[in-house]
Amino acid sequence: MVENRPALTVLTHLTLVLGVVIVGFPLYVVVIASTQTAQDIVQNAPMSLWPGDSMAENYRVALWGGVLNNGGRVAPAWPMMAVSLASALIIAFGKIAISLLSAFAIVFFRFRFRTACFWLIFVTLMLPIEVRIGPTYSVVASLGLLNTMTGLTVPLMASATATFLFRQFFLTVPDELVEAARIDGASPMQFFRDHLVPLSTTTIAALFVIQFIYGWNQYLWPLLMTTNETMLPIVLGIKRLLTGGDAGTDWNIVMATAILAMVPPAVVVLLMQKWLVRGLVDSEK
C-alpha cells in the first residue's frame, strides 16, 4: 500500500463486494431454484429467494431420472456426467501427452522439415473448432467415428496451445542439463522421462486445469457428433430439458442439473487456482 486512505479503502471493499454479489447472484438464484418445486417457481412469480424444501427430491430426479408430476420424463444425469468426465479427462491427458512429445521433438531434435512441422502446428493455434465444424464433421463421419468417444475427443486435441506452452518451457531448459544426461548415457527417451517430464509438472498441472475445463464445457462439437443418448455430455443434456417453453419447463430440475454440471469444473478450478493462473498467463506470452 502506497498511502493510507481509509475512505478509498472502504470504497474499494464496497465496490468489490458489489462486484462479487453481482457475479454471484445468478449462482445464488440457481441454487435456490434447485431447492424448490416447479410449482413454486412458476406460480409465485417471482420465485422466493429463500431455499425451498425439495432439494433432495430435485437432485434425486436430476441424477437418476424419473417421472415428474406433470407426466414429463427426465433422463438421468449421471451417465451424462460420466461421459463429460471421461471426455474431459481424455482430452486433457491426450492433449498433454501429444503436446509433450511434439514439443520435445521440435525443441531437442534437428530433422528435416522441422520448421515446416512447427508451422503446421502453429497455424492450428488460430482456428477454433467452431470455424471448421462442417468439414470436420464430414471427416469424422467418413471415418465412422460418430457417436464414439474417439470422435468426441480426438478432433478437439488438434490444437497448438499446449504444444506452445511446452515449447516455451523446454527452450528454457539449459543445454548443460541435456549434455550431462548424455554423458551419463541417457537415451533421448530416458532424458525425456527422467528430466523433462518431472521438470514440467507445474506446466502440466496448469494445462490440465485449462484442458479439463475446455473438454467439460464443449458444446457445439458434441451437439453435432452425438445422436445417441448414451454419448450425450451433461452440458448438452441441460438443453434437452428446456422443452416446455417459458413456464412449462421444470426449472427446478434444470437448475439442479446445471449445478451438477457446474460443480466438477468449479472444484477443479478452485482447487488448482494457483496453477490455473500461472498456466493462463504463461500460455499467452
Binding site: A45, C117, G134, T163, L270, E284
Partner: protein, 277 residues
C-alpha cells in the same frame, strides 16, 4: 511428434482444405449433383441481406462484450489489487465463472430473464420495463451480451491482476511522493503500462465473442427472435446443418477463418512490437 501431426493433418488441414474446396461448389438438396461454381457462393453471400445483417449483429455483439467485459473487469482487478489482506478471497469469488460452460451460462441467464418466471424480469416489470427477450430483438441481444460478459469476467480479471502485479511498485511510490493522487496515478502510470494486457484481452475477447459464444446463443435464444441474435458462427451451423446449404456454409467458414487469422496476425505484430519498448 508423429501423433500430433497425424491429428493435426486429419482433423485440421483436411477439414480446412475441404472447407475451401466446398466453398467453391454448389450442391443440390439431395447431394446428387455437385457443380463447380467458383466464387459464386461468396458472391451470393455478399448479396445476402441476412448474412450482412448477421455481420452487423456479430460486430455489435462483440464490441459490447469486449467493452463491457473489459471495463468491468479492469475496475474489479484494479480494486482487488489495492486490497492487501484477503485479496485471495475476492479472487476466488471472482474466478469461479471461468468453470461455467457457456451453454450453462446461457441457460442460467435465460432463467433469470425469462418473461414470466424470471426474477430479474419481475423487477424490471416493477420498474415499468416490459421485458421479453423472446419477442424483442434488443432484449435478446442484451441477454446474450450479459451472459457472455458474465462468463468471461473471471478470465479478464485474472489477466488484469497478473498485469497489475508486474507493474513496479517503485514507479507508483515515486508518483505518490510527487503528489499524484490515486486517480491521476491510475491514468498516467498504471493504465499505459497495462495497455499491452488490455490490448491482448481485447483481441481474445473479440475472438471469444465471435466463436465461443455459440453455446450461449444456442442455449439462450436460438439466434432468435427472428434472426436478431444469429451471430456468424451460429449462421454457419444453421446454414450447414439445418438448412443444408453446404457450399454457403463452407464459404462462411472460410470468411471466418480469414477473420481469425487476421486478428491473430494483428495480435502477433503487436506483441513483437511490445518486446522492443
Amino acid at each position: 511428434m508423429a501423433p500430433q501431426l497425424a491429428i493435426v493433418l486429419i482433423f485440421f488441414f483436411w477439414p480446412a482444405g475441404q472447407a475451401l474446396y466446398q466453398s467453391l461448389l454448389s450442391q443440390d438438396a439431395f447431394g446428387t449433383s455437385v457443380q463447380f461454381v467458383g466464387g459464386e457462393n461468396f458472391e451470393r453471400l455478399w448479396h445476402d441481406a441476412t448474412y450482412l445483417a448477421s455481420f452487423k449483429i456479430t460486430a455489435i455483439f462483440s464490441i459490447l462484450v469486449a467493452v463491457l467485459g473489459l471495463s468491468s473487469s479492469l475496475l474489479l482487478a484494479v480494486l482487488a489489487n489495492r486490497v492487501v489482506a484477503g485479496a485471495w478471497v475476492y479472487r476466488s469469488l471472482l474466478i469461479w465463472p471461468y468453470a461455467v460452460a457457456p451453454a450453462i451460462a446461457g441457460v442460467v441467464w435465460l432463467f433469470l430473464f425469462a418473461p414470466s418466471v424470471g426474477v430479474v424480469t419481475y423487477v424490471l416489470r416493477e420498474w415499468g420495463l416490459a421485458w421479453n427477450p423472446l419477442l424483442d430483438g434488443d432484449h435478446a441481444m442484451a441477454l446474450i451480451v450479459m451472459a457472455a460478459v458474465w462468463k468471461q469476467i473471471s478470465y479478464n480479471v485474472l489477466f488484469f491482476l497478473a498485469g497489475l502485479q508486474s507493474i513496479p511498485k517503485s514507479l507508483i511510490e515515486a508518483a505518490a511522493i510527487d503528489g499524484a493522487g490515486p486517480w491521476r496515478r491510475f491514468w498516467t502510470i498504471v493504465f499505459p503500462l497495462l495497455s499491452p494486457t488490455a490490448f491482448f484481452l481485447l483481441v481474445i475477447n473479440i475472438i471469444y465473442a465471435f466463436f465461443d459464444t455459440f453455446a450461449v446463443v444456442d442455449a439462450a435464444t436460438h439466434g432468435g427472435p427472428g434472426r436478431d441474435t444469429a451471430i456468424l458462427v451460429y449462421k454457419v451451423y444453421y446454414d450447414g446443418f439445418k438448412a443444408l446449404d453446404l457450399g454457403g456454409s463452407a464459404a462462411q467458414s472460410v470468411i471466418l477463418m480469414a477473420i481469425v487469422i487476421s486478428l491473430t496476425i494483428v495480435q502477433f505484430r503487436f506483441i513483437e512490437r511490445r518486446v522492443h519498448y
